[in-house]
Amino acid sequence: MPFNQKPQKFNAKINTVTVGTGDKAVTIGGNSTFPFYTFDAPTENSPKIGVEITDMGLDDFAPGIKAYYEGCTTMAEIAQKAAAMEGGDFVVLNLEGGDPNGVNKSTEELIAIVKEVADAIDCPLVVEGCKNVEKDAELLPKVAEALQGRNVIVMSEKEENYKAIGAAAGLAYNQIVGAESADDINLAKQLNVVTTQLGVDAKKIVMNVGTATVGYGYEYVVSTMDRIKGAALSQNDNMLQMPIITPVSSETWGVKESVATEEDMPEWGSEDERGIDMEVMTAAADLAAGSDAVILRHPESVKTIAKMIKALV
């Protein structure tokens, strides 16, 4: 008796969302299987990789990442170098310097950086807020306005500020809304519901459903993504069919395994290797759980994950 292969067919699929414009535009989502289950149905669009830079320049980057950007002095140069990274599909600008509890850059100052970056590159662009809900409510609508016509993803729309960000990005300036929730399928769905109730097209929403570094409460990330993909495909829940985009690097490059110097932890060996593997394994796990795009920093991580995706699809 031969093996009775039973493909798992779903009559539902993840929305397709195109980011950017022209030749370099990328499309995420569109699949009707669990991640990389090519034996059930072919993969419509393979997962994509964003290369993250920040308004804070290179100072906070790990030495191995800094080395890649050597010689870059302006944000425009950094952005161009990021856009040229092997394996990357789009550039992600993190506006962490806007955090009022941190450097607290003004909205005007940040918008100038956003424009400088956008003008320097022709690949798709994604902008992340500073994560302070009040500041983002003021900053991100301005970002959406400044980038009209570029079809960017404006991330960091949260339950607390969805009206300001969702309306500006998704309605007034016709960008893509990146809806962010904290590791909970119901919260993710709720945010999509209220965002569409504003009038935003469901097909112009992508989700960040929560992220953590492997080893750091990561089990919730896995289960949230597993459940969301399950509901999107098997229950055809159209309020959970938005593609998932997951910031990886902003989590992984802060933990001890990545930042402790070799001097401090001699038995742990090369700091660069540890940081890369922390980023690579978290990204690989995110993709296996259901992320349609991941956001990374280190050139070696980007190259490796691109290779892995190619090998699996």
């Binding site: 001890k256 540890r274 699996l312």
Partner: protein, 448 residues
């Protein structure tokens, strides 16, 4: 899978003798189907009926044990495809590969490297539990046995990657007592390999050129009476291997096909050899999706730190948060006048923070609050780590015992400073760094 009442009824003697306490055999069968009674409670069941019942009610995936003593490992036994459905039970295990194709210096270097990664993370020992000893086509029995002997000295459980029955037999002579896995049965040699594995009393690994061949060979081995198996699902490339791993597990758990109800071996050295970062990425993927044994070319701290963290997360029971007891934990020889540092009762947070505090060498009292077993920001967001809850805990448990009035709070809840100053009069509230890793420097600077 679970049988229904009618199916069980067909196996009873149909005497309606009531000895089981039920009015009829049918009533008894219904109770057994619901799990309210056990089939053994009928004294008249035939041996055959009992055997076919235990077969039918056996779990869909077998639990296989390898190794001996402290190195005994349990593989398989999973019941769900996704951890949120219940829990994963037996974690993935990692093997470092050695091969007869490596020169002595390379083998020695690898053997010296393996024991270097061995540490504790939240009460769990992290190390490469397995060594995969591969026999390449050219190797002789002597050469292979010598390598096996060398590897055995490490004391880790071995997987013998060898498909020549004669060579395998020779190698098992020197290591069978440690209960290694013999991985090498395939469509053309399974009878001979079966004889070697059964004679040595070890688990046999089966492979096939595709899923159909793997299935047929496994079925043939079962027919020979061997159910002490693991399935090597490694295919020609990454994509095929992933497809095999998922489909084998899914067939067993979702479609109740017991022929595929065995733990798996995934050999990354074969499909991603030479590329350590790609192996790292794939090790994460196969830890998430259904690799019981994952073979890699190396396991240094770079691989181990993220991988073992991932495994610990994926294999925790979703129903039980890992907590530590709230209370005062004096560290580094602290007394009642030493600095006070506070955090939450989530085991992971405690593990990370206490590790750094210890490293700092600064005497201090670590106060663990009752925060529902949640991380700093999660418990703060849930209202379980607030100005109110912390001050109440301090007034009741800390103030009567500790004289110091200097308190360091986690940087992530800097917003609590004002509130705590108001609610804990007399205390100096110091905002600490955001990450535990910055604590050593922070405490040294604070002291200075």
């Amino acid at each position: 899978m679970a049988l229904n009442g009618i199916q069980i009824f067909k196996l009873t003697p149909k005497k309606n003798c009531k000895e089981c306490g039920c009015p009829t055999c049918m009533a008894f069968s219904m109770k057994v189907a619901q799990g309210a009674m056990k089939i053994e409670q009928c004294p008249h069941m035939s041996e055959d009926a009992l055997a076919s019942l235990s077969e039918a009610t056996a779990p869909p995936m077998k639990t296989i044990k390898i190794g001996t003593g402290a190195e005994e490992l349990t593989l398989g036994g999973e019941t769900v495809l996704f951890r949120h459905e219940k829990t994963f039970v037996n974690k993935s295990r990692y093997a470092v590969e050695l091969c007869t194709c490596m020169d002595d210096a390379a083998v020695d270097a690898k053997l010296a490297e393996i024991p270097k990664v061995d540490y504790d993370r939240i009460g769990e020992r992290m190390y490469a539990e397995l060594v995969y000893v591969n026999c390449d086509a050219e190797a002789t029995a002597d050469k292979y046995t010598a390598l096996v002997q060398k590897a055995a000295a490490l004391g880790r459980t071995m997987i013998l990657g060898c498909s020549d029955p004669e060579i395998a037999k020779a190698a098992l002579e020197v290591c069978k007592d440690n209960k290694p896995v013999l991985n090498g049965a395939n469509a053309s040699n399974y009878e001979a390999m079966n004889a070697v594995a059964t004679a040595a009393g070890v688990v046999l690994g089966v492979s096939g050129k595709d899923l159909n061949e793997l299935y047929d060979t496994t079925a043939a081995l079962e027919k020979l009476g061997n159910k002490n198996l693991v399935l090597d699902v490694t295919g020609a490339d990454v994509k095929e291997t992933f497809g095999n791993a998922v489909q084998v597990r899914r067939a067993a758990l979702k479609d109740q096909d017991r022929t595929f109800g065995y733990p798996s071996i995934v050999n990354l050295a074969k499909i991603a050899g030479g590329d350590y970062h790609l192996q790292a990425a794939l090790a994460a993927v196969f830890t998430m999706k259904y690799g019981s044994i994952i073979v890699m070319e190396r396991m240094t701290y770079a691989e181990a730190l993220p991988l073992y963290g991932l495994r610990q997360n994926v294999f925790t029971d979703p129903q039980k948060p890992m907590r530590v007891e709230p209370g005062i934990y004096p560290m580094n020889g602290a007394d009642e006048n030493s600095l006070v540092v506070t955090t939450v009762d989530f085991a992971l947070t405690y593990f990370l923070v206490s590790g750094e505090l210890e490293r700092s060498g600064v005497p201090l009292n670590l106060v663990i609050n009752d925060a529902g077993g949640l991380s700093v920001l999660t418990s703060w967001a849930a209202g379980k780590f607030s100005g109110n809850s912390i001050s109440a805990f301090f007034k009741e448990n800390v103030e009567p015992k500790v004289k110091s009035r200097r308190l360091v709070i986690p940087g992530k809840v800097a917003v609590l400073k004002g509130d705590l100053e108001a609610k804990l009069p007399g205390w100096e509230i110091i905002v600490g760094p955001r990450e535990a890793v910055q604590l050593v420097k922070f405490l040294k600077d604070l002291d200075a």
